[in-house]
């Protein structure tokens, strides 16, 4: 023990010790979260999601022009083609235009003919960066696959946590927090009108994974403290959150830093995905601190010692 005691004196701890009474704020947090979920549901119902062709079906063409085209003129040209409803927007820079065409079911034109018609209308030196077509059948299938994927992953996580922490209160607390994260992320998509596509589903599942990761770390500490101390449950929860807070914040920051780099430099294609992820990291961190853990108490979890 001799040499160890010596080194101990020269340990330089970069301290970040927290002692915040999270429990005190639980009703404020609940109120905030309920309003957030309500707002998300409201936005989802009124503004709806800006569904991409992955789910809606249709044609999407990303074209880069040699010089910035006049959008109004372009819109006029496309309207004259009579190839169904179209949306035209800049994508990343003013030279790049994203066309989204709704494929009309009863028209006898195939999507190839529609794409060809559009291409004929544009300059020859146009660079077609992306051409995507999703038929209505596949769109429907992708939709049901997406719903299944999100549903099953929530259920799988719920079951895992239930068993791992031997208490349905833990599982349900995590599940409610997850639902909160997923719903508010949908609200985020509605509010920003960022295109909702397959990548958005990937974002939602990753957010769910990230959020549950945070939640598990806190739960794990609660479990450990339950064995170690015989403090009141409220105090114990608070202590556990505080003990893991510095880690929770650290990981959120490094993840956000990586996401920031992707947002700024990763290109237009992943921008929607990345911004949803950033929102998700924030909301996931918040929910594991303010929602998941207090809910365990709310659901009536009691220490085993108290019962016996």
């Amino acid at each position: 023990m001799g040499p160890q005691a010596k080194t101990e004196k020269v340990v330089h701890l970069n301290t970040m010790k927290f002692n915040i009474n999270f429990f005190k704020y639980r009703f404020v947090a609940f109120l905030f979260s309920i309003s957030l979920m309500g707002l998300s549901a409201f936005l989802f119902l009124t503004k709806n999601l800006n569904l991409g062709i992955d789910f809606k079906g249709g044609i999407m063409v990303e074209a880069k022009f040699s010089e910035a085209p006049n959008l109004a003129v372009l819109r006029d040209k496309i309207d004259k083609l009579q190839i169904g409803n179209s949306e035209i927007q800049e994508f990343g820079d003013s030279n790049t235009i994203l066309f989204r065409l709704e494929k009309i079911d009863d028209s006898n034109m195939t999507q190839e003919q529609i794409i060809q018609k559009l291409k004929n209308e544009l300059d020859d030196d146009t660079d077609y960066r992306r051409v995507e077509f999703v038929g209505p059948k596949v769109g429907k299938e992708l939709k049901s696959i997406a719903i299944k994927a999100v549903f099953f992953s929530l259920i799988a996580m719920f079951i895992y946590i239930w068993f791992r922490f031997s208490g349905w209160q833990f599982g349900l607390g995590a599940l409610v927090a997850l639902f909160h994260d997923v719903l508010s992320t949908m609200g985020f998509f509605s509010l920003t009108q960022i295109e909702f596509n397959l990548a958005s589903i990937a974002a939602i599942l990753t957010i769910a994974g990230y959020s549950i990761n945070d939640t598990v770390v806190v739960f794990d500490r609660i479990r450990e403290n339950l064995v170690k101390t015989d403090r009141a449950l409220e105090e114990l929860l608070n202590q556990s959150i505080n003990q893991t807070l510095s880690r929770t914040l650290m990981t959120s920051i490094t993840t956000l830093l990586a996401l920031l780099a992707l947002f700024v430099f990763g290109g237009e294609v992943v921008k929607g995905f990345v911004s949803a992820m950033m929102w998700g990291v924030l909301i996931g961190t918040y929910s594991s601190i303010f929602i998941a853990s207090p809910l365990i108490l709310f659901f009536g979890f009691k220490k085993i010692e108290e019962k016996s």
Binding site: Q4, V11, T15, V131, L142, T206, L257, A258, A261
Partner: protein, 524 residues
Amino acid sequence: MLKINKWNVFFVLAVCVTAIYYIIPNIYGKSEVTALPKFLSQKQVNLGLDLQGGSHLLLEVDTKSVLKEKSEDLVDDIRKSLRKSKIKYSNLGSKITGAVVTITDPEKITTAKNSIKENIEKGIQIEESKNKLNLFFSDQYIIDTRANTVEQSIEVVRKRVDESGTKEPSIQRQGEERIVVQLPGIKNPERVKALIGRTAKLNFHMLDPTTVELAEQRGKLPPGTFKALNSDPTAYEKQFVVKKRVLLTGERLKNAAATVDAQTGRYVVAFEFDKKGAKKFAKVTTDNTYQRLAILLDNKVISAPQIREPITGGQGNISGNFSPEAANDLAVLLRAGSLPAPIKVLEERTVGPSLGIDSIQAGKKALVIGFILVIVFMIIRYKAFGIVADFAIIFNIILLISMLSAIEATLTMPGIAGIVLTVGMAVDANVLVFERIKEEIRSGRSILNSIDLGYKFAIKTILDANFTTLIAALLLYNYGSGPIKGFAVTLSIGILTSMFTALILTKLIVTFWVLKLKPKRLYI
């Protein structure tokens, strides 16, 4: 007690060697890699279509139309066999998968049944009720027919794609009646799509001397004829009256090629029949000299030449108003044969080469900058331990890429995003350990003891926390398609490698550092 575990040292070294072994081939280009010595790995990370540019097509074979055709053929077979055995019948007609017929004399129903049975395929079953015969395809027959149709379609599509000069195409069956076609680096997807989608049924008929105008004046077509459009809408003759009887089909073709006609200087498609076809063609051209032949592709007339003399060599030219590409495409279609059923494009994703290159550049930039941001932050926060964690991140990326190469995974843009995300999330395991060590030190334990306990306590948390993320990633892999699958793959492997680097690699480094180098000061 904290000590250097020999097995862990051995394990880490083994992982390092394996990682280097698998990462080496990625330095080389695709063609150079095959030239590497045999003892080296030749597996590389594949670039997804969204990064290298190319087309992804999801096709559906309309197998119902084949069953419908078979049902109609069945009606013909029934008619023939009943006529042959002179049995009177009524209400003969086809169903979606089968046919029905009513036998006028109920006593002859068994004779009728037996006579029909001789002339139909095995998988077709007959049920009798009163004087009605109900013929239907057995389930196995339907399954086999559909499977055969899809198999044949895949063959034809493969031939057409190969002939179009696409490099390294991938054509695979998906589900029951779908085909996934992947065409990396394709320059003109529209053309290949047009090639794939054509049924390309080539039929030789005779043209009826009646003109369309004359038929319209009379108000009806001559018996046994039909009206067919000209495939070239700009031509002078817009429509033709064609005799119904099919004289020859494209199945009898042995070869076809686009050439320039020596006399006219125009592009034509030269074709050659097989032996049987040549014989038939000779007979047709002998019997119908000076009349006009009608060559129909998918029920549109592509050429209607006059037969000037009997053609006995089995060779001929199709001369339409062809551009060089059109002549070439037609030759490709004729060589590859016709599709047994119509094909529909359900989904298409095409990425141009410029976007692919931009995406790779953007991905690299984001990775490097995200990486720098995270490592700087870690050093600020954890000092020397931060450097250890940074080392773990670097190792983590190397390990991740080497594992992607080992399984020859496909890297997509979302996949790159997954790697960048891993950089941010991979430090989590280390952060969990470091924070725990700090806590233990704070509670008054010795350094060695704290480090030991820090790892011990954190392991359980890390496993639990990562397992849930892995659940999300695996479901994403299961349900996702293409690029999204790529994301799920990098994310899952990233989680696994980060557990390894945090629990084994950095533990070893920290232990070695504290035990052997005995630092005078410890910053954490």
